[in-house]
Amino acid sequence: MIKLLPMNRRSFLQSTAAGAAAIGLSPSLFSTTAAAQTALTVGFIYVGPKDDYGYNQAHAEGAAVIKAMPGVTVVEEENVPETVDVQKTMESMINLDGAGLVFPTSFGYFDPHMLAMAAKYPDVQFRHCGGLWKEGVNPMNTGSYFGYIGQGQYLNGITAGYASKSKKIGFVAAKPIPQVLQNINSFLLGARSVDPAITCQVIFTGEWSLAVKEAEATNALIDQGADVITCHVDSPKVVVETAAGRGAFVCGYHANQSPLAPEKYLTGAEWAWGNVYTKFVTEAQAGTPLGNFVRGGLKDGFVKMSPLGPGVSAEARTKFDATLAEMMKGSFSVFKGPIKDNKGGDAVTAGQTLAEDAIELESMAYLVEGVVGSTS
């Protein structure tokens, strides 16, 4: 079952790291007789630049954490589109670098790209960021990991609620899909926990990465009176810099954007992928099976908050800390009924409480009352 496929093609390889890793790969992953050999080559694939202050940087920071682990070689490739390119990139990492564990990090890499490669290379482990893996449908050498970041956006909303003077906050969103809608709703609900009069205007840009439209949307929100802005796009850099340049406060997303706007940055909902990757790599090196469906939120160390900025008042800090403490206990729920949607219908009925892993949240198709905007 152990394939040493890469070995016959590697006369060109620098004899050191990659070669050693490929030899070490098989015992560490698939054999129980492994001695001290725990070398492992791990491939990371990003859909955008890995220094984007956003989605991709969050993953690259996670990759940097495992890079420091003994025996681990990390190979990374950025700006890989969700086409045959990503299939060939995975294959190239397996064939030319001897990767035994691959993390294709973009949502669109899963089907058909990662599944095709997983079928072709059954001895390589693939773990995809997103919640798409299904037991019995997808093979066991694949899996999903994802974080519940909605509570982070709720905490963002709390700081925004205190910082806003106009009682209008703004959200620059990529696409009206469940994940994004949940973040928008959580942000508003967090702000409304401070002041129920607050409204949140949302603008959808239609694309995950479209700098010009993101800047236009940010300016439009501020022109309409919003004085705290957050976003859900791949790279929040443009939104953060534009908003701070106009004097508005900002809440971050994906990664820590405070270096871009140290004075105006309140806090941010960040991924803590380093913890997740460390766990996968430790399992792979120990020869134990890797998790196939791994999820978690703030309390599980999948998500973290940026340090609070200078714009956060003492009052805001108290509520922020108290709410965070409750979330860490696992007893907090953002979506507690009754909640109306912004068309007057019932979003969450009275008495219904949706935990952060509730299945209903995964198909969210509404914006809650207080959000100004439309999903279509």
């Binding site: 093609r9 060109f12 620098q14 630049p49 190979v75 990374e76 490739e77 950025e78 700006n79 890989v80 589109p81 969700e82 086409t83 045959v84 390119d85 299939q87 060939k88 990139t89 294959e91 190239s92 990492m93 064939n95 030319l96 670098d97 949502f107 669109g108 089907d111 058909p112 997103g130 696409k175 009206p176 899909i177 469940p178 994940q179 239609g206 694309e207 995964e362 198909s363 279509s376």
Partner: protein
């Protein structure tokens, strides 16, 4: 734009009777584009080496890696060919109108709409008719859609005097917006929650791989399209008329050539090739139409067409060369720690140098027999 005939005209038989001059003349004329193109590529690589040296890396290592990643093994060759396949068709979308003097840069629009049309056409048919019929219908739908889209650019150009470059570029944005509308609205598979897509094509309806290779049939389709286009331009009266019109529209009109029909016909044909690229992307790679269709193939096609000097046959090696550069880009990132932009710098350098070298045509006496001393 040159209107030289590219058909190799064989020297007359008299040349074989001791007089070498006609053979030399024939060779000189054939050698000019090859020598200038090679010279341009070598100059581009030399300039790029300086850039790499400046950023502190070894150009020798880099070129070795590029060879390894692009063409160094059977895997690498297939990797390059896979990436080249869609470029063959999108380059034709630029090259064909270019023979008429039109600069069309919005092939991306025809790609995405061709893909959507193909996916939509397949929906009512899957399950009731055989795969081959479904694929043919998809191809026709993609080609018609792409043809209409770029054909409209030709119509605007000829009948309303709208600049075709700007029109096609702006229409590409409209096309992407339309694609988003269809895949997020009327054609959306309700199961595609966080990545809006059309209903996936069942596996047995997918366009498979070329036997014995891990490259899909898109490569064969692309090469055939290039050959057909070359014959059309070089060996038919339609193509001849187009080249006349491309050289001088007034002269063509005075000759009574149907310039309007030529423009609309060529742009529509060009668009249909790009639409076919979208169909192949859906039928062979993605399995459904979704935002991954807008992967930039339409834009890379511009580069390929210009490097090939709008000669459909030259598109084949140029596309494979760019596919190889793209394939090796990943290895350069992984082994040398250079950012993805490195490959873009190389592509840009080659592009500029090759365009610059266009000005050398006819300047070298050795390639221009008319300037040789009369010896016979």
């Amino acid at each position: 734009m040159t209107i030289e005939a590219n058909i190799p005209t064989l020297p007359p038989l008299s040349a074989q009777s001791g007089n070498l001059r006609p053979i030399l003349e024939w060779l000189a004329r054939r050698a000019e584009p090859v020598a200038i193109s090679l010279g341009a590529i070598l100059t581009g690589l030399a300039l790029f080496s300086i850039f790499i040296t400046v950023v502190g890396k070894s150009p020798i290592d880099l070129f070795k890696l590029m060879y390894t990643g692009g063409f160094g093994s059977w895997f690498s060759i297939q990797n390059s060919l896979s990436r080249a396949a869609p470029l063959l068709l999108t380059a034709l979308c630029v090259a064909l109108p270019a023979r008429l003097g039109l600069v069309i840069i919005g092939g991306e629009g025809a790609v995405v709409l061709g893909g959507v049309a193909a996916a939509a056409a397949a929906l009512p048919l899957t399950g009731s008719v055989s795969p081959i019929i479904v694929l043919v219908v998809m191809a026709i739908a993609g080609m018609i859609m792409g043809g209409i889209w770029i054909g409209m650019v030709g119509v605007l150009r000829h009948y309303r005097g709208v600049n075709e470059t700007i029109a096609s570029l702006l229409m590409a944005y409209i096309a992407i917006a339309l694609m988003n509308h269809f895949i997020e609205g009327p054609l959306r598979d309700p199961a595609s929650l966080n990545k809006p897509s059309t209903t996936p094509l069942p596996a047995e309806y997918m366009l498979g791989s070329i036997p014995g290779m891990d490259v899909n049939w898109g490569l064969v389709i692309g090469i055939l399209a290039c050959i057909v286009s070359w014959i059309l331009i070089e060996a038919t009266s339609f193509g001849f008329a187009a080249r006349i019109a491309g050289g001088n529209v007034r002269a063509a009109q005075i000759q009574g050539l149907p310039v309007g029909r030529l423009i609309v016909g060529f742009t529509a044909l060009a668009g249909s090739f790009a639409g076919l690229a979208g169909m192949v992307e859906v039928a062979a790679v993605q399995g459904s139409a979704n935002a991954s269709l807008a992967a930039g193939y339409g834009y890379t096609g511009i580069l390929v067409a210009f490097l090939a000097r709008h000669n459909p046959l030259a598109i084949i090696p140029v596309a494979i060369l760019l596919g190889g550069i793209d394939a090796s880009g990943g290895l350069i990132q992984r082994r040398m720690g250079l950012p993805d932009a490195t490959v873009l710098v190389l592509q840009g350098t080659l592009f500029v140098v090759i365009l610059f070298c266009e000005t050398f045509y006819g300047r070298f006496k050795i390639f221009n027999p008319d300037l040789w001393k009369r010896t016979a």
